[in-house]
């Protein structure tokens, strides 16, 4: 019950900065940044694939990373968004949940980290790929890798070295509290340092997300599954590439 005691502790100014202000800044940047980027830079919204340059390493590294991170994403959604009481109501005991989360999370995390290691190695050693790497990409790789390493380290340290940490009583409610607009920094006070660092690195990643090539995630082409194969589109009513001035639209 030491956690509870710590939770009751008064959050200091630093805690408010880290667990209230920072999350909202990151959230605003994430949402606002995507809106702005989509309006300003649709042409730059792409995966910037480098498969044309090199495909032997990409063929292993890219699916390993992407499928790994998709599992990690699902794990985070389940862990952070679904409250304890719901899984218990569904008949999943705390122990079952914990074991499956740790096993799945560790496997997926290792896959993701292995994948990104291959991709970074490829990026550095394959000439054309390296010369197509921007500073923006380097920053993105750094922040993404930091978040991944810290996340996996926190899981491993807490569950395999130590005897487990129940983030669903602290981090998850804090995460949800942000979205109800009743942020509760006190929940984060006693959280182990690695988890705190992981959360902060994730916030930083979300803040830069819209300004990097990671934007391609938001346009994952799920619509492909339902749309007809051939798309017909009418010629643009707007003539040329400049928007028509208001009041001067063409008469149909």
């Amino acid at each position: 019950m030491t956690h509870l005691a710590q939770n009751a502790a008064d959050p200091g100014a630093l805690d408010i900065l880290l667990w209230v202000i920072l999350p909202y800044v990151a959230l605003v940047l994430f949402v606002g940044g995507h809106v702005w980027r989509y309006r300003y830079d649709k042409f730059g919204w792409t995966t910037r694939s480098s498969q044309l340059y090199e495909k032997r390493l990409l063929r292993i590294g890219s699916p390993l990373f992407h499928f790994g991170i998709l599992v990690v994403l699902i794990g985070h959604v389940v862990g952070l968004v679904i409250p304890n009481s719901w899984t218990e109501a569904a008949g999943v005991s705390e122990h079952t949940y914990h074991v499956s989360a740790v096993v799945m999370g560790t496997i997926a995390g290792v896959c993701t980290l292995g994948g990104i290691a291959i991709l970074i190695y490829r990026r550095r050693t394959v000439g054309p790929v390296f010369s197509a790497t921007t500073r923006n990409d380097k920053l993105m790789y750094l922040m993404l890798t930091a978040a991944l390493v810290l996340g996996l380290a926190a899981t491993v340290a807490a569950n395999i070295v130590d005897d487990g940490y129940d983030y669903r009583t602290t981090i998850s409610p804090w995460f949800r509290s942000i979205f109800y607009f009743q942020p509760d920094p006190a929940l984060m006070v006693g959280v182990p340092l690695l988890f705190q660092l992981h959360a902060l690195s994730a916030l930083a990643l979300f803040a830069v997300w819209p300004f990097t090539r990671l934007v391609h995630m938001l346009t994952a082409p799920l619509g492909y599954l339902t749309r007809p194969y051939i798309v017909y589109r009418s010629r643009d009513t707007q003539l040329g590439s400049r928007a028509t001035r208001r009041g001067w639209e063409r008469v149909r």
């Binding site: 792409t46 910037r48 054309p128």
Partner: protein
Amino acid sequence: MKVMAQMAMVMNLDKCIGCHTCSVTCKQAWTNRSGVEYVWFNNVETRPGQGYPRRYEDQETWKGGWEVNKRGRLKLRAGGRFKKLITIFSNPKLPALDDYYEPWTYDYETLTNAPLQEHSPVARPKSLITGEDMKITWSANWDDNLGGAPEHGGKDVLVAEIADKVKFEFEQTFMFYLPRICEHCLNPSCAASCPSGAIYKRSEDGIVLVDQDRCRGWRMCVTGCPYKKVYFNHRTGKAEKCTFCFPRIEVGLPTVCAETCVGRLRYIGLVLYDADRVLEAASTPDDKDLYEAQRSILLDPNDPEVIAAAEREGIPRDWIEAAQRSPVHSLINTYKVALPLHPEYRTMPMVWYIPPLSPVVDAVRGTGHDAEDRGNLFAAIDTMRIPVEYLAELFTAGDPAPVDAVLRKLAAMRSYMRDINLGREPDSSIPAAVGMGEEEMYEMYRLLALAKYDERYVIPPAHAEQAHGLEELATECSLDYEGGPGMGGSGPFGEASGGPDPVAVENFRMLHARQTTDSLTDPADKANRVNLLNWDGKGRPKGLFPDSPGSGEAPPRELMDGTDPNAESEPKP
């Protein structure tokens, strides 16, 4: 019946001299940018040959186009929607740069700034991908004119089908040129493969385009297109393809490749087709029936029922009239001399080809016989199975009968017209032998031999005639030059981020700066390089002449004065 209009092209291969003017002008207009150095929206292949990219016709490897499955349903050869999404992180069937070729430039600078030496300096080839020195081993036309055919000829995918018959010894070989652009298919498999839905078929004129703002670089279209005519721009991370020069077509001008064609072998016009029957025609069970199926969905623009249906669909009256005068429709359906390229890919391609008679004529002439005589030509077409079977692999999924019929018509036209040209009595039995009337044969001759610009290109404007004139945009991409506002690091996200500036604004600023500047034009960021296009004749910029060896002293002081180190160093359009 749902009538739709399609802008289509016919190429008369007998007239192609393989000069590559179409490719070069197309490249200058559309793909002279970084990221698409290796891309040729229009290319001319020597057949037999591997083509570009190498062996693109080998669909066992590349999985392009459609196939009919066991239940008779049409499906993408590379796999359906679910498989596409599963393999999206690494497309297993994407051609590598090696399959096209590694683009290069030459280090021309050493030619001008190398010190005086015993041996002439050499401009080494430098890769445009890595920037390193490279050894050139292949390019888009490496096997031009059967170059290297004894070694590489056997790699032609079609030759494999008839391998025992095609010879690459000098005396026994044959060849012709095949110019290729995007086929602007009625059933485009690139569009069907695009996960983002960025590739669309324009409902007005059937031109297939990539929406650059919606393309996310998933690369599935490159695999999907069996003709490998969608390319990946490795700098912008977007797919690009032939646009049928839509800004020109919209104002009634032919495409750049057609406009500049030296042999005048291209015809552009509208065809009307029944959109409701496209899927049915593309699902025809037997590959060899596909040519007929494809021809049958094209509608007769003179049929009153078709006209009425077209008007119901909102096709403007002048478009229907253009379809009636369309040379493309005449060549495909009236004279039946144009054939589609690889109908067995089931994409319903809309660039058609008149197969070449020349290999046959050349062979007859080689034997010392009269190559214009009908009897000799007909006999030759019958006996010379090699070119005919090869052509059938290209145009009719291997069925020699339609190719044979076309070649006979072309041969009959030659013989018939020779009598007229020599002032002899025309022989009405010649057209009759290929099922044509005398007048019809003369009309076909007119269209193939004499047709002027406005008969070869019947292009109704898009009722947006003034658009580009008002905007001063020659094409959509005139801003996309290295370092310009449409390209290269202008925005915060590198390649081409942000919206483009209209070219008129750019020109205005550039001219204004030129007219009001006090400084001379001198490169600031590159030592010893002067762009003469941008040199305004004021003074002698540093680097205009190479430093004289031995003297070692700086140029006279007064010539350096007034040169602004921040002056413009690159030409702006």
